[in-house]
């Protein structure tokens, strides 16, 4: 890659959201903002190789995109609300000051993750408007046809416009609830990258995990005092740190007890642990932690252990107990049972898992967990049946390979 190409790629990563956000503020229209930003990057690809990289790429791109947007509005001057557009074209007023946490990009994220939009639309729109991913890229990531993904994004943008979803950071009282909607969207992006579904995709999608981490870092920079943002970032970093050890050379998922811990990314672990310690200090001062902070703490316990046996399981269990109180979901109860198996043995854990059957029968980790517990209890026939059920539901190629080998090892 030439220096110019590298500079354009870097500018796309660093400046896309800023350019789209600045144009959204000025023109009040996501379509105009997005199209003009895309045109500005096309112009950069044409001009930078000949003219050289501008000293301030972000400012160059924003200015160029502004001009493109104005050109477009003038061309389309026939459209009905001429006056409103004319006002936007000449509106060079600085934005109204909105407090310390205000940032155009933050407003853009909150608009894309508005609770009035469907969750899938929030994820797609965030990746498009904030992450700068193309519609085909997003469609591939979620195994949806390009036309369907395009429609989902178009419909969401149309609703923002027609229902007048504001381009604004929510007020202090609404902020915690609205941040949680943003974090849910980012966690979905991350999870799809960490255990990708589909027979034809890579089992791990580093592009998606990296994007989710990058966007969460952005939120973290904009909302440094929010504990759940720090918690989600820590959770993602500590999970991502184990990625190099998670799939074997033959493409099989490697369970936590068999992972080569020497392959874990120590820099990511150190950063994740730093964030968890920061949240522990806040908890000690009386700030109750939310789900992401507790999940991050559980992952901090795992990444602190030299091997599986060395893991402080009573600490893990105590954290799960805390999580169950906060969010009594069957999936959390299932994960808690895995810690119970390490402390009280597979029999006790199996009893707890079996109680979840009616809620989790269609969830493959339920059957995979049961299969493992039955295997440890020497109940091979039942274990094999459970592996079969898990395999029928699992969608990740590396996980399928792992479950198949485990099943076939049973006598």
């Amino acid at each position: 890659m030439s220096d110019t190409e590298a500079a354009i790629t870097q500018a796309h990563h660093e400046e896309w959201a800023r350019v789209v956000a600045a144009l959204t503020r000025r023109f009040g229209d996501l379509d105009i903002a997005e199209e003009a930003a895309a045109e500005a990057f096309v112009t950069a690809v044409e001009r930078w190789p000949a003219d050289g990289i501008p000293p301030n790429p972000g400012a160059w791109l924003t200015t160029t995109a502004n001009r493109k947007a104005i050109d477009r509005l003038r061309r389309e001057n026939k459209r009905d609300d001429k006056q409103k557009e004319a006002r936007m074209v000449y509106d060079d007023d600085p934005p109204e000051p909105l407090g310390a946490i205000d940032d155009d990009r933050l407003r853009l994220i909150f608009t894309c993750c508005h609770p009035a939009l469907a969750v899938e639309a929030r994820v797609a729109l965030t990746l498009r408007m904030v992450g700068g991913l193309t519609v085909p890229e997003i469609a591939r990531a979620f195994l949806v046809a390009e036309s369907a993904m395009g429609q989902r994004i178009t419909r969401a943008k149309a609703k923002i416009k027609a229902a007048r979803i504001p381009y604004r950071v929510p007020s202090a009282e609404d902020l915690p609830a609205r941040v949680s909607s943003v974090l849910t969207a980012l966690f979905l992006v991350f999870n799809e990258g960490y255990l990708a579904t589909g027979a034809d995709t890579d089992p791990l999608r580093h592009d998606l995990t990296a994007e989710a981490i990058r966007l969460t870092r952005l939120i973290r920079a904009l909302l440094p005092d929010n504990g759940e943002v720090a918690g989600l970032l820590a959770l993602m970093l500590l999970t991502e740190a184990r990625r190099p050890a998670r799939v074997s050379a033959v493409g099989e998922l490697v369970a936590l007890d068999e992972q080569d811990r020497g392959a874990w990314d120590t820099a990511l672990i150190a950063e994740g642990h730093r964030l968890v310690r920061e949240r522990l200090a806040a908890a000690a001062a009386g700030v109750a932690p939310g789900r992401y902070q507790i999940l991050a703490a559980i992952n901090a316990v795992h990444t602190s252990a030299r091997d599986m046996r060395d893991t402080d399981w009573s600490q893990v269990l105590a954290l799960y107990d805390q999580l169950v109180r906060l969010e009594p979901s069957p999936v959390i109860a299932l994960n808690r049972a895995i810690a119970v198996a390490e402390l009280d043995g597979p029999e006790v854990a199996l009893a707890a898992v079996d109680r979840l059957e009616h809620k989790l029968d269609g969830y493959h980790p339920y059957h995979a967990t049961r299969a493992d517990l039955l295997r440890r209890l020497g109940r091979s026939r039942e274990s094999r049946e459970a592996y079969d059920k898990a395999l029928a539901l699992a969608g990740n190629t590396a996980e399928t390979a792992y479950l198949t080998r485990r099943r076939d090892q049973l006598r």
Binding site: H114, A116, A162, A163, R164, I165, P166, R168
Partner: protein, 107 residues
């Protein structure tokens, strides 16, 4: 920006019937804060009549156009600067009416 705010009742598990004083107080507030445009409760869906005059003769049919568990019990039209304002009011309206509320922008 105007929003049509629909009150959704449910035949199987209807909302409580003692809401009128609370609704009146809420309406006073909508008027005082400049959100009020129009409002009205509707008679039961089986009082509806559907007219179809697209053919040669007007066809008059008894009953609502849609038989469903949920039905429209009343409407407001609100003036609000954006959806967040309308949704905050709708959250209160839902409590006040003890029913679900749909918020939909006018074109």
């Amino acid at each position: 920006m105007r929003y049509l705010v629909s009150v959704i009742d449910d035949k199987i598990t209807p909302g409580s019937t003692d809401r009128q004083p609370a609704i009146s107080a809420f309406n006073e507030r909508l008027i005082a804060e400049g959100h009020w445009v129009f409002a009205g409760g509707l008679a039961a869906p089986d009082t509806a009549t559907v007219v179809d005059s697209r053919g040669e003769e007007a066809m008059v049919t008894d009953g609502p156009f849609l038989e469903s568990k949920e039905y429209l019990a009343g409407v407001w039209v609100w003036e609000a600067p954006d959806l967040d304002v309308a949704l905050a009011l709708a959250a209160e309206a839902s409590k006040v009416c003890d029913r679900k509320i749909e918020v939909r922008p006018f074109q």
